[in-house]
Amino acid sequence: MFPYIPNTLEDEALMLKQIEAASIEELFTDIPSDIKLNRELNINPQMSEIEVQKRVKQLSSKNRSTEELVCFLGAGVYDHYIPSIIKHLVSRSEFYTSYTPYQPEISQGTLQAIFEYQTLICSLTGLDVANASMYDGSTSCAEAAFMAAEYTKRKTIIVSKSVHPQIRKVLETYMKFKGIKLILVDIKDGVTDTLKLRELADSKVAGVIVQNPNFFGIIEDMTEVEEIAHDNKALLIMSVDPISLAILKTPGEIGADIVVGEGQSLGIQMNFGGPYLGFMATTTKLMRKMPGRIVGQTVDVDGKRAFVLTLQAREQHIRREKATSNICSDQTLNAITAAIYLTTMGKQGLKEVAYQSMVKAHYAFNEIIKSEKYNVVFNKPFFKEFMIEATQSVNVINDLLLERNIIGGYDIGVDYPEYKNTLLLCVTEKRIKSEIDKLVSVLEEVK
């Protein structure tokens, strides 16, 4: 017997009788015998709950998590505080066991939560409209590049080298197959080289992609980048850390046309890389080019306010190959998570998360530099991450840190060979002074 299969042998007999079949096997005679699997699948035998738990926990116990280790690793995924109420709300089965809200009359919960999420993302980014989510920050950025190409009818995208290397790799894949040229613009002193950008930008460029704070943690001044993009009638696409928007100039204030980013920081577990949340917002002008689901407000026949999936003429189930994107399943539950997070933290809380992360990161930076064992790489304003140059390889340093139960920084040299022995460290509001002091003292021990 299988707990998830309720019908008994008696039920089976009754059903077979109704359909006038002698056996279940008879229902599979349309599968030609030469392609039938005439053996059992070579996988595990069925297991009880106790056995499943035991097996899975055997695996999980081989990991070392941030429950026991102190995390100073960031690089796009952040160990921010997650309020307890999130798991209680998101694990309400009416949310997590429902399908895409195609039947709005019985899906107002999901639809309203997405509507609120869209509002919150617009508020954070300063743009007009947001969609219901994309897979993650990288694919959201690739979709933004497609949008720019479609809107401008141009086939070149420029991306700054200060954008997360992983986003750039995903862009490379997507653009290559779609036949869009991807040009890399170099960096100077840790930020997008605007002189070089000016040389590269012309009337063939559909969009310019930059990141803020950039991969090195630096807050870039986007004034010139915005001018260059718009002087060439290209779109400005910004990838941003949503937490930073509580303090930093918003993409809306900067003049971005499309803003994307990784929403993992907004109450979503690090989960070894996923599922995360790609967010996307744009201007009213570009609204109908946006990929993904969008929820709109309307009324029902009684005049009652209600919410519904809208502007569906953009989507694959209506437009097929002419759709703005192929996306169908998205990350709705994580969008709801982000909405609950932003609601819980509220105006003051998000500012405090941003402020504490920033102040603690600066404390860590100053203390590490004080030891004179590490060099400052870029003398630029930064948010919650910063780079330091060591005299030892990053592996040696991180191994030592791990021995002391600390997860060290990201090895910048992996993606930027010109920066050898360079660590990218991250400090969030979760870190306390004693943990930072311990990091500093272990770093000082490095020979």
């Binding site: 035998p45 116990s61 009416e94 019985i106 918003t250 996923g274 709109g296 309307t298 026949v301």
Partner: protein
């Protein structure tokens, strides 16, 4: 409390808060001292100010306006809304899975890597493929990845002519959309009288410009295409590859495998066949499996076993590249892994058998009341074409809306497009005969109501928290966010 209709912004009150952080224990700094003023925002952040109780009540009340698999029967064709076992949720929430940074040193994440490695091996066996990548985030993302692999395969052989993908008219909308994103043109072929691929239409579409064919089998009518071997042979002879849309894999687990039917690339929807929850639209997971000749094109990284160690390998020069951040929707993968452990080989096979038996039972009982365009044994789902006693007034939409009054999630409607007034029903194996009987009785009642009082259906639903919506108004004058009332 069904009447609750406030937005979170409408219950916000200045000074309320729902969070508590520890006091900042390093020296306070004025942000203006470390960041030039022109890099800081001048705008005030517009976020709600509410208490913790407010947040809990608000979202709990919202959830009450939703309908999930745990609420009741969800016979949504093509979506495989089977029960989502709770043990899987528990396993996915183990802190030493959830609290792992993806860039942690490999030696600290061996458990996660091993789980992924083992899951990909199991999925390869179930689908009959040689290797599986767990990277894609959803079914459509799997399609895109698979099509990129097909393109890379041809181009690596120096064949740049193959710019077309064949898609049957019964296919999911994502098929042509994914092909377009992967840079292909689409050739649509028609279905034959049995709902399968029309071989003549296929033959005449094949050429040295065709990169491949995308197929769902059983197809979106729930019918197994008996010509599948001939179809794949024809495509292979013309130099193309055959892609399997795994949306309907729940019909054949342990009975037949795409890999044995001649498919070269498949994607599987873990949020359908492997019981992971749909989350109101996602996150899902769409692993892609390939045959031997295509392994080297899979997206990076690949999880490999090096002695006793598991590693993430990026050194794959022919790979299509990276298709998303990191390695896959890990939390979803844990759920699917637990599900396969629970079910085992015999359980998965039984699941498919019962999914098929349940569908045939419902088909057989409903065909006297609803038009059944393809009257033959179906697999895990079947498609009706509206009321049998055709009504000029009552539409498939009206029937769906009336079902809401009876407390059911309606079937998929108006898909596939090749059946007029389509009602696509997929009960799944996790429903009992009693549940199906009760639904069938309601469907029969509705068919009678349609004859006696069509207006009753035209105005349905009556018992839901909101009634039929003005969708035209939503699209014409889009209101896509809350703006403060003045």
């Amino acid at each position: 409390m069904r009447e609750y209709s406030k937005l979170i912004f409408e219950i916000s009150k200045e000074g309320r808060c729902a969070y508590k952080l520890p006091a900042c224990d390093v020296e306070n700094i004025d942000i203006a001292e470390i960041v030039p003023e022109h890099l800081l925002s001048k705008k005030d952040l517009f976020l709600p100010e509410v208490s913790e109780v407010d947040v809990i009540r608000h979202y709990t009340l919202l959830s009450n306006k939703n309908y999930g698999v745990d609420s009741g029967f969800y016979p949504l064709g093509s979506c495989t809304m089977k029960y989502n076992p709770k043990i899987n949720e528990d396993m996915a929430c183990i802190p030493s899975f959830t609290q792992i940074h993806p860039y942690q040193n490999e030696k600290t994440v061996q458990g996660s890597l091993q789980l992924m490695y083992e899951l990909s091996e199991k999925l390869a066996e179930i689908s009959g493929m040689d290797q599986v990548s767990l990277a894609p985030s959803a079914g459509a993302h799997g399609e895109l990845t698979g099509l990129m692999i097909i393109k890379a395969f041809h181009e690596n052989k120096g064949d740049f002519k193959r710019k077309k993908i064949i898609v049957p008219d019964s296919a999911h909308g994502t098929n042509p959309a994914s092909a377009s994103v992967a840079g292909f043109e689409i050739i649509e072929i028609i279905s034959n009288e049995k709902g399968g691929v029309d071989l003549d239409s296929l033959r005449s579409s094949l050429s040295d410009e065709v990169a491949g064919l995308m197929l769902t089998n059983p197809n979106t009518l729930g019918l197994f295409d008996e010509n599948i071997k001939e179809i794949s042979n024809l495509v292979h002879e013309a130099g193309g590859l055959v892609y399997y849309d795994g949306a309907n894999l729940n019909a054949i687990m342990g009975k037949a495998r795409p890999g044995d039917m001649g498919f070269d690339v498949v994607h599987m929807n873990l949020h359908k066949t492997f019981s992971t929850p749909h989350g109101g639209g996602g996150p899902g997971s769409g692993p892609v499996g390939v045959k031997k000749e295509l392994i080297e094109y899979l997206p990076v990284p690949i999880i490999e076993k090096d002695g006793e160690k598991f590693i993430l390998s990026y050194d794959k020069p022919l790979s299509i590249g990276k298709i998303k951040s990191f390695y896959g929707n890990f939390g979803v993968l844990v759920r699917a892994y637990s599900y396969i452990l629970s079910m085992g080989a015999a359980g998965l096979k039984k699941a498919s058998e019962m999914a098929v038996l349940n569908a045939n039972y419902m088909r057989s009982r409903l065909k006297d009341y609803y038009y059944l365009p393809y009257d033959r044994v179906c697999k895990h789902e079947f498609v009706l074409g509206g009321l049998k006693q055709g009504s000029n007034e009552v539409t498939t939409l009206d029937i769906a809306k009336r079902l809401l009054d009876y407390g059911y999630h309606p079937p998929t409607i108006y898909f596939p497009k090749i059946v007029d007034n389509a009602i696509m029903i997929e009960p799944t194996e996790t429903e009992s005969i009693e549940t199906m009987d009760a639904f069938i009785e309601v469907m029969i009642s509705i068919s009678k109501e349609a004859g006696e009082n069509p207006q009753l259906l035209k105005n349905a639903p009556y018992n839901t928290t909101v009634r039929r919506l003005d969708e035209v108004r939503a699209a014409r004058n889009p209101i896509l966010k809350y703006t403060k009332m003045v």
